[in-house]
């Protein structure tokens, strides 16, 4: 370990002696602290925050369950609400239905052979050609089957998990685990659908750029319209807003104080509480007054920005307040507002203590909400979100396939973070694969499928293959740049004037042959020696990620070379054949790991790193390396670093 630490200390923290103990204690203050910032909520953050503010309104207006887009929602008091964790939705698509009857039989009801014996009857939903039943199921493992007409026993086709039945067959398996679950919103209403898309600066892969989060007129219009719609829905469930008697003394105060604390992620000041109370009372009737207060709150800069401004103390140092720290942590790990426990911790003034901050960080990371954010991070880091709309000539690229490809990537990301380690991203040999993706890969669908030879980790995934190809051909250039920029954080600059374009698809030439000019022409080769050789290693994967043995009738040559792995422009040469070998090289690379740390630093800070961040990144990366690639340790190190809470005065 020591040589690695030495080199990091020397390159990352040039002003420090290379003592590992010193690294751990490093304040990384030599180059000053970051600027105080207001960070505009992204569309995704906005929607999640609203869902958490008004948990009962997570769906749209409805008159019955059928109006809700998502099976695991029910129509409650006029709006679609996510079902509580205990409530399990069973469904059976029956295009040739209806049948006489369908029921659920399993360990939870004594394998009831008929409905009369206690079987859970499923309801026929003609509009969807589907049988549905919702039942509360206790924690634990349960086996079950669907029973058609009380004699035809079938496994649940929508559930890939099975358990041996002891007779050589299989039952569907339901592992129910609601203890500790905090009502994860499975369906989030997209209130932000009409908001402008976030702008991402060059080389910044995420949607949460602090600099680019600017409010235009269109934003204001859309914020006001969304707030009006949300307030209208909230008023259909007044119990979500207040429990006091409408119009009673102090009721308006209670409402604005409670909602304000959560909407602004801090207590209202007395002046603010007065003003909001006045808003309620100035209107002709109670409901209008409540609606105005809610609409103002949701359109207020205090709601729309995450504050990373801090306060200047007696010593002249600027540090985030406890409530700002709570938001910085929850938006990083959950992509949404702090929960009650975190707000309470902030109120008690303990979050400025790194030990308490670490405790809270670990608590948030253990919550299912963290999984979703980690998946989102992965899709943005790898730049694959766009595969849902990319043009592809291949008819296999259906919407389902694209979504399953994204789900595979998100699932691998979650696995690497929560169940395994960082190297899994490059070397993982099993994956969660939906049916169309399974057909593309030539394997069975399932939650934990062994990948075929030639695929491992993200490099062999269809999402990456699609995102780095054109509509009708692969792009060794894009694939090489993908590795350089996203996985190694190396920037090769813009191509020169007179750069050639994409060679035509030529049925008689392989991709490798068509791009040969890049390496034959010395002017091109000066840059492309770092790009194409890498990209050629992906040639077994076609523009949608299907395995191919031939290209233009010639066997694919997937030999690749990676020149300059540990630093841009380096002369170290690593040769490989195919993405599995490339994955192994990257999994063991300090520079790829350092880049992964850097990408999390970008995501957390909402900006590209500067020289002043190099020290913190090196310290965090060192913790990450020593933990054998535990992303939880990386994130804990990141949020407990002094620069997470300190700002320049």
């Amino acid at each position: 370990m020591l040589p690695l630490l030495l080199s990091l200390a020397l390159t990352g923290c040039k002003n420090r002696v290379a003592d590992p103990a010193d690294l751990v204690d490093a304040e990384c203050a030599a180059d000053g602290y970051p600027e105080a910032r207001l960070r505009l909520l992204t569309r995704a953050e906005y929607d999640r925050t609203v869902a958490d503010l008004f948990p009962a309104l997570s769906g749209g207006a409805c008159s019955d369950d059928l109006d809700c887009d998502v099976l695991t929602q029910s129509c409650v008091a006029g709006s679609c609400s996510n079902d509580p964790c205990e409530l399990v939705t069973f469904h059976l698509d029956a295009p040739d239905g209806p049948y006489g009857s369908v029921h659920v039989a399993g360990t939870f009801n004594g394998w009831a052979p008929t409905v009369a014996d206690g079987g859970w009857a499923m309801e026929w939903v003609a509009e969807q050609s589907r049988y549905v039943a919702k039942r509360a199921v206790p924690d634990g493992n349960h086996e079950y089957k669907f029973v058609i007409d009380e004699w035809d026993w079938r496994n649940d086709p929508a559930n890939p998990d099975t358990a041996a039945d002891g007779y050589g067959g299989w039952n569907s398996l339901l592992a129910q685990d609601c203890e500790g679950a905090t009502g994860v919103a499975e369906a989030i209403t997209e209130w932000s659908a009409g908001f402008p898309v976030e702008s991402r600066p060059e080389h910044y892969p995420f949607d949460n750029s602090a600099d680019s989060g600017l409010v235009t007129t269109v934003h204001v219009e859309q914020y006001l319209a969304a707030a009006e719609a949300i307030a209208e829905q909230a008023l259909t469930r007044p119990d979500t807003l207040y429990t006091c008697s409408p119009g009673a003394d102090g009721c308006a105060r209670e409402l604005v104080t409670d909602l304000g604390r959560r909407a602004f992620r801090r207590p209202l000041t007395a002046e603010e509480a007065d003003r909001y109370e006045g808003l309620v009372e100035a209107q002709a009737d109670w409901d209008t007054g409540v609606a105005v207060a809610v609409r103002v709150m949701l359109s207020s800069p205090y709601f729309l920005y995450r504050f990373e401004v801090g306060q200047i103390d007696a010593a002249g140092q600027r540090t985030l307040t406890d409530f700002e720290i709570a938001s910085a942590l929850s938006y990083l790990v959950w992509g949404t507002m702090p929960d009650e426990a975190l707000l309470d911790a902030a109120a008690s003034g303990t979050l400025s203590d790194p030990a308490e901050l670490e405790t809270q960080a670990r608590r948030l990371l253990a919550d299912p909400r963290a999984r979703e954010i980690v998946g989102r991070f992965g899709l943005q880091w790898l730049g694959v979100e766009g595969v849902t709309t990319l043009d592809k000539v291949d008819p296999a690229a259906t919407d389902t396939l694209r979504n399953q490809a994204l789900a595979e990537t998100a699932a691998l990301m979650e696995r690497a973070v929560f169940e395994s380690d960082y190297r899994t991203l490059y070397t993982g040999k099993t994956a969660a694969i939906g049916d169309e993706l399974a057909a593309l890969y030539g394997v069975e669908a399932g939650a934990d499928v062994a990948l075929p030879t030639g695929r491992a980790g993200i490099l062999g995934q269809a999402s990456v293959a699609m995102a780095t190809s054109h509509s009708d051909q692969t792009s060794p250039i894009r694939r090489g740049l993908f590795v350089r920029e996203r996985l190694l954080c190396q920037d090769l600059g813009t191509p020169p004037a007179n750069a050639g374009g994409v060679p035509e698809v030529d049925p008689d030439a392989t991709t490798r042959e068509r791009f040969a000019q890049h390496t034959d022409d010395p002017a091109c080769a000066s840059c492309h020696q770092y790009i194409d050789g890498l990209g050629f290693g992906f040639e077994n994967l076609d523009p949608v990620g299907r395995w191919r043995e031939t290209d233009a009738g010639v066997p694919v040559d997937a030999s690749g070379e990676l020149l300059g792995l540990e630093q841009p422009g380096g002369t170290d040469l690593h040769t490989f054949v195919g993405v599995v070998e490339l994955g192994r090289i990257l999994a063991d690379s300090d520079s790829a790991r350092h880049c992964f740390t850097t990408q999390w630093h970008r995501y957390a800070t909402g900006r590209l790193e500067t020289d002043a961040d190099a020290c913190t990144i090196a310290v965090v990366d060192d913790v990450f390396a020593q933990s054998d690639g535990s992303v939880e340790e990386l994130l804990v190190a990141l949020v407990t670093a002094p620069r997470f809470v300190r700002r320049t005065p």
Binding site: A36, R37, L38, G194, P196, V197, S199, R200, P201, E202, Y204, D211, S212, G213, L214, V215, T216, T217, V218, H219, V220, E221, Q222, L224, A225, A227, E228, A229, E272, R275, L279, A282, Q283, T288, V292, A293, R295, V296, S299, S300, P301, Y302, V309, G383, G386, T389, D391, H470, S471, D472, T494, P496, A497, N498, A499, G500, G501, V502, E504, V505
Partner: protein, 443 residues
């Protein structure tokens, strides 16, 4: 601002095609100020001078009043007397050879996009007081997650913003169908007014508290709030050119917003909407961004066009790399030429929409200034000199048209100075190395 001479008796169907009422005489006596400006952007340059040194197939040749249109500009033949064709404008040497470098400089005239763009500048000056200071519409300009340097409108130095790509959403926003404040109304909704007042109270308290922290960000936010407040409270209502009691655009042909086949219909709808919004007096400053630089738009899938070839995907950027020579036998070159001609035809379509609507003593086109632009000159060499700019419309008499103007060598920030002057803004310099308005361009 009561310059408009409203044509009486226009019905709700005023946007139906009108006979072109353009007077034949090139001299046009307006009040000397353009009512509106529209920037029309298309991606990936034109067929300019080739790498082998063949002359440009875009730039016109001849004298100021006697010149012939180039092959790519034939689509503007009907509007030759309404246009000024510009030769010699340069965006400077920084990043020359690069699409993103050019896109950053295009409307900012500042290297690396480190300045406000001219459309945003004008929105703050001559555009303020209108219900909408600025309207930024796109056609697949946010496709595939495009952002940052892909977008040409810079709200603040270094910070571009994203256009609205869905004409239906934009329509609802402008005309209030989606719960937005729309184009302002005579009757003020007291609840909406209370809401915006409450938000402004929070904003003012926050600004007072933060002082210099994030001041630019909050200033922009506050300006946006003021603009919406004005709409909500029915201030600054402009007189419409046409009756806008039941505005509508045709979006029935759009289909999948992301499909290349839909692109022409999306662009048509956005151009309809831009002209409608301006005819209804909602805004004076508009930007239409068709796709983005290094465009992956598969133009060979545009139905019913000369480029159409369902068996072969030819993207805009791919075609722009047509090789070192103007070789008609080369597939990329042939397609690139057709693509550029198609963009010019869409620009002509925008001019036609404006020419179809009478305004005052002429048409909307006579009172407008319309700018055609792209981020590089030749798509293969990517150079930033002799940029292919075209101005159209008589700008209320500010611009005498039907000319070929060769500026020799001038930085294109000077063009934006002239555009601002035509809009009645007294701007004297804009961007890097600006030498002031282009002499002799405006009347």
């Amino acid at each position: 601002m009561n310059r408009r001479r409203l044509l009486q008796g226009l019905g709700a169907a005023a946007l139906a095609p009108f006979a072109n009422l353009l007077p034949a005489a090139p001299a046009y006596a307006g009040d000397g100020v353009a009512e509106r400006v529209i920037f029309f952007y298309f991606p990936d340059g034109v067929v300019g001078p080739s790498a082998n040194g063949e002359p440009s197939k875009w730039h016109c040749t001849g004298s100021e009043f006697s010149f012939s249109l180039s092959e790519q500009l034939q689509g503007l033949a009907a509007f030759q007397s309404d246009c000024v064709f510009l030769n010699g404008l340069s965006m400077g040497g920084t990043d020359s050879g690069s699409h993103p470098g050019g896109a950053k400089k295009l409307l900012t005239a500042v290297d690396h996009g480190n300045g406000e763009s001219i459309d945003q500048y004008l929105s703050r000056t001559v555009g303020s007081g209108m219900p909408w200071r600025h309207l930024y519409l796109g056609a697949q300009a946010t496709a595939n997650g495009a952002s940052g340097d892909k977008h040409i409108s810079y709200y603040a130095p270094g910070q571009s913003i994203a256009p609205q790509d869905d004409p239906r959403v934009a329509f609802d926003l402008l005309f209030g169908a989606g719960g937005g404040t729309g184009g302002g109304s005579a009757t003020v909704d007291p609840v909406q007014a209370s809401v915006i007042d409450g938000v402004l109270a929070d904003m003012n308290a926050l600004r007072a508290k933060l002082g210099s922290v994030e001041k630019t960000k909050l200033d922009l936010h506050l300006d946006a709030l003021f603009e919406v407040e004005q709409r909500i409270k029915g201030l600054g209502q402009a007189e419409p050119v046409v009756s806008c009691e039941s505005p509508a655009i045709d979006t029935s042909q759009i289909g999948d917003l992301n499909a290349p086949e839909s692109f022409p219909a999306i662009l048509e709808a956005q151009l309809d909407l831009m002209v409608l919004a301006m005819a209804c007096g909602l805004t004076r400053v508009g930007t239409v961004q068709a796709s983005t630089h290094t465009s992956e738009l598969i133009m060979s899938r545009f139905p019913g066009t000369a480029m159409y070839d369902p068996g072969f995907d030819m993207r805009s950027h791919q075609a722009s790399h047509y090789g070192p020579a103007h070789d008609p036998n080369h597939r990329e070159y042939a397609d690139y030429l057709m693509q550029r001609q198609w963009w010019v035809e869409q620009f002509a379509g925008l001019l036609q929409r404006l020419a179809d609507i009478p305004e005052g003593d002429g048409t909307m086109l006579d009172h407008s200034l319309v700018v055609l632009c792209t981020e590089v000159c030749d798509g293969n060499t990517h150079l930033h000199d002799d940029m292919p700019f075209v101005l159209a419309g008589r700008a209320g008499g500010a611009l005498s048209t039907g000319r070929l103007v060769d500026v020799g060598y001038r930085r294109h920030g000077d063009l934006w100075v002239s555009v601002a002057n035509a809009m009645g803004d007294g701007l004297s310099q804009f961007g890097d190395a600006s030498g002031g308005a282009i002499p002799g361009l405006l009347s």
